[in-house]
Each structure stands twice: as C-alpha cells, then as structure tokens.
C-alpha cells in the first residue's frame, strides 16, 4: 500500500488546500491558453526546479508518477513526426507533462482530509441545491486511496506469480488483477457500510 500524500514534509504541505486547488485550476487554464512551446518549456523548467528545491525524494517520486504518460508521449512523437508538425507536438507534450506534474504536486503535498474539507466547502452551494456532495467527495477520497492500493495488489500478484514460475507473468496477470480490483471494491463497500455508509 502506497499513499499519495508524501510523508516528507515540505513548505507546500502547510499551504491551505483551498489555495492550492485554486492555483492548480488557474495554472491549468493558463497552460491550455499557451499555444507555443517556448513559454510552456519555461514553465516546465521552473516546475522541475521547484521540485528539486522541495527535495530530491519528492522530485524522484514526481518523476515516477509521470510514468503513465510515456505511451501517450510516444504516440504524440510518432504522429507529429509523421505529420512534421513538431512545434505542435512539443506544445501538447509539454502541456500534458506540466498539467499532470502540477496536479500530482498538489496531491503529494495535501493531506486527504484537508483536500476533502476544501472540496466540501467548494461544493457547499451544490449541497444546498440538494445534490449528494458528501458522497462525491468521499468517492474522490476513495479513488485517491485505492489507485495506489491496486497498483500494490498488482505487484503482489506479480510477486506471487514469479515465486512459483520461471517465466515472467506479463499479460497473464491481467485477469487476477481485474478480479483483485473487484474484490477490493467489495471490501471497501463493506467497510464503508460497517461505519455508516456513504450517505
């Protein structure tokens, strides 16, 4: 089981969650406004520098969290390589990387309960309109917690496979992993139910 919030304390941990979310929104809007690679590259560089300032372990974790992006980046490179529009490709790639890194930085430096409290405040007007917002924030909290739990489950399945097989598991763990996900969902539902449910 991993957790998304970094145990290494940084000054960013002490910023209010609401402020961080607002800044994240503003920054993401800005990123999508910029249409040339140069300013985006400048922002990406500044962001990388910020990570390094916060500490080597945070920077390393952040880099690892970008891994799911590689297939998309490869696809972008291929497509824009073929069409010859490299500037456009670089813009999209830089935008993706910075947006994702920023979002990750906010999750890494904000405790889940603070994030939920901020979201509760944000969605308070919706709650007054009668929408089940508490359920919404809880769903978000659970998603944030169980994405790393599942990736950990997949690692255990891989280990259990490797311990009893000379071959690498590869795609064969897909089915046990999918079943583990369903199983995990059952347990979460039950534990939630045992403590009053999501309502």
């Amino acid at each position: 089981m991993l957790t998304l919030t970094s145990p290494v304390e940084t000054p960013l941990h002490r910023w209010p969650a609401g402020l961080k979310l607002a800044l994240l929104c503003a920054a993401t809007v800005l990123l999508f406004r910029l249409t040339t690679p140069l300013p985006l590259a400048a922002i990406a560089t500044a962001l990388a520098a910020l990570h390094l300032l916060l500490g080597r372990s945070i920077a390393a974790t952040a880099l690892r969290q970008l891994r799911p992006l590689w297939p998309f980046l490869a696809l972008l490179a291929l497509w824009h390589g073929l069409t010859g529009d490299l500037a456009q490709g670089a813009t999209i790639a830089l935008r993706l990387i910075t947006a994702m890194a920023l979002a990750n930085l906010v999750t890494m430096t904000t405790r889940l309960s603070d994030m939920l409290a901020a979201l509760d405040r944000l969605t308070a007007p919706l709650a007054r309109a009668g929408l089940p917002t508490r359920r919404l924030t809880l769903a978000l909290a659970l998603a944030l917690r169980f994405i790393p739990v599942l990736s950990d489950r997949i690692d255990t399945i891989r280990a259990a496979w490797t311990a009893r097989s000379p071959r690498r598991p590869g795609w064969r763990i897909l089915i046990p992993a999918a079943l583990a996900a369903l199983d995990e969902a059952d347990h979460v539902a039950e534990s939630l139910r045992a403590r009053g449910g999501a309502g």
């Binding site: 089981m1 991993l2 957790t3 998304l4 919030t5 145990p7 405790r111 889940l112 309960s113 909290a141 659970l142 944030l144 917690r145 950990d152 347990h187 979460v188 039950e190 534990s191 939630l192 139910r193 045992a194 403590r195 009053g196 449910g197 309502g199």
Partner: protein, 245 residues
C-alpha cells in the same frame, strides 16, 4: 455506565435466521437472544463464524428469518447502528479506508457527526502513548499494528456492542495481553470469535458453530471442554484416508 446501557438495550435477537449464498446454505435457522456482556463464538474454519458476525452487523441481510439489534434491523438502519454496534474485521486491510492513521481514526467519528473528529482522534492516540503515529501512512504499519488501529477506530466510536473477529490473530504476546486487559474493562457488550478456547474461557456464554448451525450453546464450562475434545479428535483423525502414506 452499564446502567444507562441497560435501559434501551435489548441485545441482538435472531429469529430463524438463515443465509443462502448462490444456493449453498451458509447459516441455517439460527434462533438466538444475545444479551450477555461477554459472548464467545468458536467453530472450525468455514463453520460460518465470520458470516454470523456480518449478519449481526447488518453487512448481509438474512435470506429468511430476522435479525434485530436493540429492536432495529441492522441491514436497513445503517446510521442507527453507528452508536449501537461496531465490527472488527478479520483482515485489517479490508477495513482500513484512509491513507493515514489519524484520518482512519477520525472517519467513524465524523460519520457520527462529531465536528472535532480529527482532534479527538489525535487525543486518543496520545492517550495510548502513540501520538507520533497520527500522520504515519497506514502502509508503513505492520499487520498487528494495523489490527490495533482498526480496533482503536471502533473503540473511539464507542458503540454499545462490539463484534470482534479474531482480534488476537495478528498481535504479539504483550500487545495481546494488553488488549485482553483493555477489553476486560470495557462496559460494552463484546462478541468475540476465536480459535483458541483459552481466549474465550472467561466469557459468560459460548456459541459453538458447526456447518452453519449451533452445535452447542451455554456457559464456557459446559461448551469448551466438549469443543476442545472434538477439535483434538478431528486433529487426530486422518483427514485424507485415500492418500498413500
């Protein structure tokens, strides 16, 4: 405190409760009125102990018959159960919902409507001499430490009845001893599952479950010797006589 509990306390009442999962009977026709302060449940692996606990906690509804906790259907009134009944799962990893110790502890309190949930959770940790645990990621706790966390989360909610599914399974001897003493002083009704007859020997009443039915029900002095003898007999017997030796 016990006096205040007694007033609206009718205990857990099962009337002809059965549970069938996909055609297989798991629990059959259980009729029980559980009012004693300390109740132990024993039985072999797969005899239905955990399922009975889930039924009493309202996590599953009976296929037929009824289950009532203080006159309330636990499968329906989930909010009403928060102050009446808490359950410790057999596997702590299936119980923990939140990434840090303090958050996990505070969740139940918040569900009960306490605004100062987080403060209380931290105070409770401090009272146990584990204030430094508050911001630890649960992933860094050992299995026994996780079980301890799950139990604290339930105790903090102070339900009138606590269901414990093998609470000592993952604990080391000192922690188990401390927990036994702690549990002994609690004013709540405790219903404890255990494989170890010694762990439930001081209960007021023992239920022996066998293939989803009550095999014996009575004071430990009457039930446990028979249970221990039967388990020893089964252990001696050759479970797989067709296998070559």
């Amino acid at each position: 405190m016990t006096g205040a509990f007694a007033q609206m306390d009718q205990g857990i009442v099962l009337r002809g409760a059965s549970l069938v999962i996909r055609g297989t009977p798991i629990l059959s026709d259980l009729t029980l009125a559980l009012t004693e302060p300390r109740i132990g449940i024993v039985g072999q692996n797969g005899s239905g102990k955990t399922t009975l606990l889930r039924l009493m906690a309202g996590l599953v509804a009976p296929s037929s018959g009824s289950v009532m906790v203080d006159g309330i259907d636990p499968a329906r009134d989930r909010k009403g159960m928060l102050s009446r009944l808490g359950i410790l799962f057999q596997n702590p990893d299936q119980q923990i919902l939140f990434p840090t110790v303090a958050e996990e502890l505070a969740f139940g309190l918040r569900q009960q409507g306490h605004r100062d949930a987080e403060t209380r959770a931290r105070a409770a940790l401090a009272a146990e001499g584990r204030a430094d645990w508050a911001d630890l990621p649960v992933s860094t706790l050992s299995q026994g430490q996780r079980q301890w966390l799950c139990l604290q989360a339930i105790l903090l909610m102070a339900p009138r009845t606590i269901l414990l599914d093998e609470p000592f399974a993952a604990l080391d001897l000192p922690t188990a001893a401390r927990l036994t003493r702690r549990l002994a002083t609690l004013p709540q009704r405790l219903i404890t599952i255990s494989h170890n007859p010694a762990a439930v020997a001081t209960c007021d009443r023992i239920l022996w479950l066998d293939s989803g039915r009550i095999r014996a029900d009575g004071p430990p002095g009457a039930v446990l010797p028979a249970f221990t003898a039967e388990m020893a007999r089964l252990g001696e017997a050759d479970a797989d006589p067709h296998l070559p030796r």
